[in-house]
Point group: C2
DNA sequence: ATCATTAATGAATATCTATTCATCATGGGA
DNA sequence: TCCCATGATGAATAGATATTCATTAATGAT
């Protein structure tokens, strides 16, 4: 099946861009994207994606991607990584990040630690990182994911 | 009256020290402390305390206090604060933190940002912080709370 | 003191989420 | 090719959580 992947990506996409507070609500949003599933499937997906439900002033509780938080030292690693980042380009479905000399391994390991669903794996040299995206993931998806992991990149990319 | 506070503190205490994955489970744990309430009350308490439910490898989902995470720059502020901390002592139900000169305001503001239920408010001079605990909060509770906010203090206190 | 207002709570219930059970499709072995 | 194991899914249901409604206790105003 290739549709499951599409659905999981859509879920991550929706949750990272808006406040969703129930599976029913998310179900509707998916439907608007032409993805029709049941609540049972969604429940499994959210567990698979390790989506958290956090307190929100406005909506009571909302879903949140697991990425950023809960990783000790992430913030410091983040600014370090942002500093070393030079550029990203794509070829043959692969992403290539160029970094300052020596920065590649630490940036790659940061990505690996977060382990976002959109990225199957990374391979780091000294100043180059190869990003292997999940099937059906677009360049835009990868860039969004990187920005979720390292917000400071927002300015440096695009 | 007065018991609600005790219950809220107990909840925070339990959740910060062990993995709890349902209100029923938490209800039992409270009962063991002599606190008998219903699930409805607990649901309200958890919302009030802004307790999150996060993905956990072992137990599926568990409750988590809102403190540490979700506050931008918290980690960096944390190590800075730990560095400036000198000591804490108590008198007349109040806590007095001594800091290196100039550190008091930033440490106090860190506490204020987290806004833990155990602490009603803080008052910072240059090298001294006054901690005003919530009614019925023990010295031990305050210390635990501070350690939750600034884990590095674990070694410096006690 | 009397009355109105508000907060805390439980019981019952509604809403939301996870799981069970059954089905179907797929991809290896033998 | 023929099973058998595995994974994805929906329908139904079990389980968990939030809310509604009613009650009581506390607080304040007149």
């Amino acid at each position: 099946m290739g549709n499951r992947t599409e659905r999981l990506l859509a879920i991550r996409n929706i949750i990272s861009s808006q406040k969703v507070s129930s599976q029913e609500e998310l179900l509707d949003l998916l439907e608007k994207k032409g993805l029709n599933y049941t609540q049972a499937t969604l429940s499994r997906d959210l567990k698979f994606l390790k989506v958290n439900k956090i307190s929100d002033m406005e909506k009571g509780y909302i879903y949140e991607l697991p990425d950023q938080h809960h990783i000790p030292g992430h913030e410091l690693a983040e600014s370090y990584a942002a500093q070393g980042f030079v550029s990203i380009q794509f070829a043959n479905k692969l992403g290539i990040i160029k970094t300052l000399p020596g920065y590649a391994p630490s940036i790659a390991s940061l990505i690996d630690k977060v382990n976002p669903f959109e990225i199957v794996g990374t391979l780091a040299g000294d100043d180059t990182i190869l990003i292997v995206p999940h099937d059906n993931v677009t360049e835009k998806d990868i860039i969004n994911t990187l920005i979720i992991i390292i917000p400071e990149l927002k300015d440096k990319i695009k």
